[in-house]
Amino acid sequence: MRLLQSFFAKTFAHGIHPPTSKGQTDHLAIRRMPFSPRMMVPLSQHIGAPAKVLVHKGQEVVRGEPIARAEGFMSVPMHAPVTGIVEGIELMPTARGPKSEAIIINTYQAADQQVLYGADYEWQNASTEELIQQIQNTGMVGLGGAGFPSHVKMQVPEDHVIDTLVVNGCECEPYLTTDHRLMLEKTDSLILGIRIALRISGAQRAIIGIEDNKMDAVETIRERLTEDDPVSVGVVKTKYPQGSEKLLITALLDREVPSGGHSYHVGVVVNNVATLALIGELLPKQQGLIERVVTIAGPGVTKPGNYLVPMGTPLRFALEYAGYFGDISRLILGGPMMGNTVASLDVPMTKTVSGILVLEQTHDSGKQKTYPCIQCSRCLDACPINLNPSQLGRLAAKRQYEVMADQFHLNDCFECGSCSYVCPSNIPLVQYFRIAKSVNRERVAA
């Protein structure tokens, strides 16, 4: 049965099959994480302008209350994750590296978990513009990882017509199971969120793309759909990076997003299941995004699971709660393929953190040695967008960054890491490409 089904499942060309490592958490229901006594809410957890502070030192805030407003269209507001007192607005370390302004809240000891802020909202009668405004008010950003404001993504440029809404439920990164659990536990919110998104985009149909290692989620969602529902589920092969927006479009619809273009160029809007599930939950109540599901997993934690973590929870607090005892290890925010290691435990959890992984240290120095490229062409077979990483790597070693961009499509690379994953010579290809891109950007700017 499984064999038959994976034969019919759709997919894209190339890609890799890393061990999914999801067994540690995929059966664990979402659990609430208690409030940390001190919360740090950075003003910039998204792409775009940082939010503008609405509170002052010493002010009392209520859980769910807006504490910073959006600065323009390309920005989102922030809401108080807990009831407490604003201790101050200070520069705090962030996971990305540089310090940024954050609102620090001291949690009241008996703070309630119920959100009292908000009001019922009849979204069915609202206009598209109103709905987009409402989504901005929730502070929602793409929860898949980049933090692109959701209302901006949902607004289709005027001269484009959208026929299909693609809902990304692939979760192709190993270890992570948040989307999987959300699809199982918040199915109704997800479907509601999809219907709202359908309204805004004007698409006639929605397809939820789910990898075939999550058939329980497929079944659960299919049970809730009506006979001639515009929403359907498309099963895709379990393969990395199936969760990439463009590759999911290709797998489900056989359309190719033009190089340098966006999904709306082929009549598609893509949203992550976690994003839509939360929109379905928050929008009808006019509440803000104050917590999200985070997978905490890896060999370094004793209580792995999917936790509902309030934004602003310090990483140290979350890790202690999940049973991490400070052994030598690698701490990764996000998945193992595209996530970043963190240097400090004092960084706060933000809207874009989908997972915290504690992996063993890479100590095998023999395996770490970098060899020259032996032109085995494994990277070409792995690259999902048909680049020539071998050639790009050789050019990068010679610092010919402009040639890489002009002749070898460097800028199409979205840094999925498949080439580095398969390289027998252990060449840090993706890192080379990141450096090349940033040098090129500086050259353009100069």
Binding site: P18, I47, M74, G142, G144, G145, A146, F148, P149, P157, D159, H160, C170, P174, S244, E245, K246, L247, T250, D254, R255, E256, P258, G260, G261, V266, G326, S329, R330, L331, I332, P336, G339, T341, V342, A343, L357, T362, K367, P372, C373, I374, Q375, S377, I385, L387, S390, Q391, H409, C413, C416, G417, S420, Y421, V422, C423, P424, S425, P428, V430
Partner: protein, 376 residues
């Protein structure tokens, strides 16, 4: 909680692939059966030759690593592969000192001169062989009978030639071997199947070619065994099967065309595939990753060209064998082939893929998008 020591790295944080050294070691494993068969076929002379050439390549590799002050790279086994492959392409009675020279040239001129592993343009083993082909034209075309009765007890007379000395004429020894044979039909004429066909118009039985019951270079004669050994690497995903297949296809097609034009003058395609060094060259030489194209279309073109050149050199050249020069030519053409066979990148315009017609200029966007956003 104690203060953890965290490791900072860039993504991806997981990695799965055999290392270069592991791949090279597996190539050695795949070549060992060929070496064993060669020793069974030609006796202690073949064994001595294989050991000598490998020692020579390993010593040369170490010497140059020491001279250039770099880490010694013999542990990655690539120098041993070069030595083993080179030995398998030499005649079994090849004087040992010449074998050592070939090994030295292979590593010195074929590999370290270009910068070591990964940077060589040509297959090092074939550079070594090409050198001795030019330097010792007689010895490299002196063939000795396979399965000679006393092969495990005594060396072929030419094997132990003193350095810088010309080997003795083998004719008396071969006559002696022939006179000891029970069946006079098997008498050795001093020619490989290819030479027998080219100069005397004699073809060899296909079954004998498949099973290696013929003479030739040390390790090139057992076609079937070579294929099986190659399969091992293909199954372990350590060799690109497209290369040997396209080399053989190129040779087969070219030979078939010639055969159809004039079946009297040209041999049948099956004989072409199974004789001489083509099988060894296709499976283990042409497929050496360094010096071959990485693009899918390039690999195909490269293989077909090598097959084509092989048959052309065999049919119209002065030598009975052309695999070596064909592969070296293929190596030389690799950068050119790669330059015009770059794969079509996702999202590049292609006519047969359905694309929704756009009114706006591609690249115009509602806001900045980052790479991270595209994958979740």
């Amino acid at each position: 909680m104690k203060q953890p020591i965290v490791e900072i790295r860039t993504s991806p944080h997981i990695h799965s692939s055999p290392t270069v050294a592991q791949i090279m070691r597996n190539v050695i494993y795949a070549l060992v059966p060929l070496a064993v068969f060669a020793v069974y076929q030609f006796g202690i002379s073949a064994l001595a030759l294989i050991i000598t050439v490998i020692l020579s390549t390993l010593l040369t590799e170490s010497l140059f690593a020491w001279l250039s002050g770099r880490d010694n790279t013999i542990n990655d086994s690539s120098a041993a592969i070069t030595g083993l492959l080179l030995a398998l392409t030499l005649p079994p009675g090849f004087p040992l000192w010449m074998g050592a020279v070939a090994g030295f040239i292979a590593i010195a001129l074929g590999k370290t001169l270009f910068g070591g592993i990964g940077f060589n343009v040509f297959n090092p083993a074939l550079i070594g062989r090409a050198f001795v082909q030019a330097a010792f034209p007689v010895s490299i075309t002196t063939w000795t009978p396979a399965f000679a009765p006393g092969r495990f007890a005594e060396f072929i007379p030419s094997t132990l030639t003193l350095p810088l000395m010309r080997p003795n004429d083998l004719t008396p020894w071969i006559e002696q071997v022939n006179s000891n044979l029970a069946n006079k039909m098997d008498a050795f004429t001093g020619a490989t199947p290819l030479a027998a066909w080219k100069f005397d118009g004699v073809t060899t039985d296909t079954m004998d070619l498949l099973t290696g019951m013929v003479t030739g270079s040390t390790g090139e004669s057992a076609a079937l065994l070579i294929v099986v050994c190659g399969m091992y690497l293909v199954i372990r995903k350590m060799m690109d099967w497209r290369i040997p297949v396209s080399v053989l296809a190129g040779a087969f097609i070219t030979a078939l065309i010639l055969f159809l034009i004039d079946s009297e003058q040209y041999p049948d395609p099956l004989f072409v595939l199974l004789s001489g060094g083509l099988m060894l060259g296709a499976v283990f030489m042409a497929s050496d990753m360094v010096g071959t194209p990485v693009t899918p279309l390039g690999v195909l073109l490269y293989g077909l060209l090598i097959g084509f050149f092989t048959v052309i050199i065999r049919s119209f050249g002065g030598l009975p064998e052309g695999v070596m020069y064909a592969i070296l030519l293929g190596n030389a053409l690799t950068p050119l082939i790669e330059s015009f066979t770059q794969p079509r990148v996702y999202g590049e315009k292609r006519m047969d893929k359905k694309m929704v017609v756009e009114k706006t200029v591609v690249g115009e966007s509602v806001g900045e998008k980052t790479a991270e956003e595209n994958a979740s």
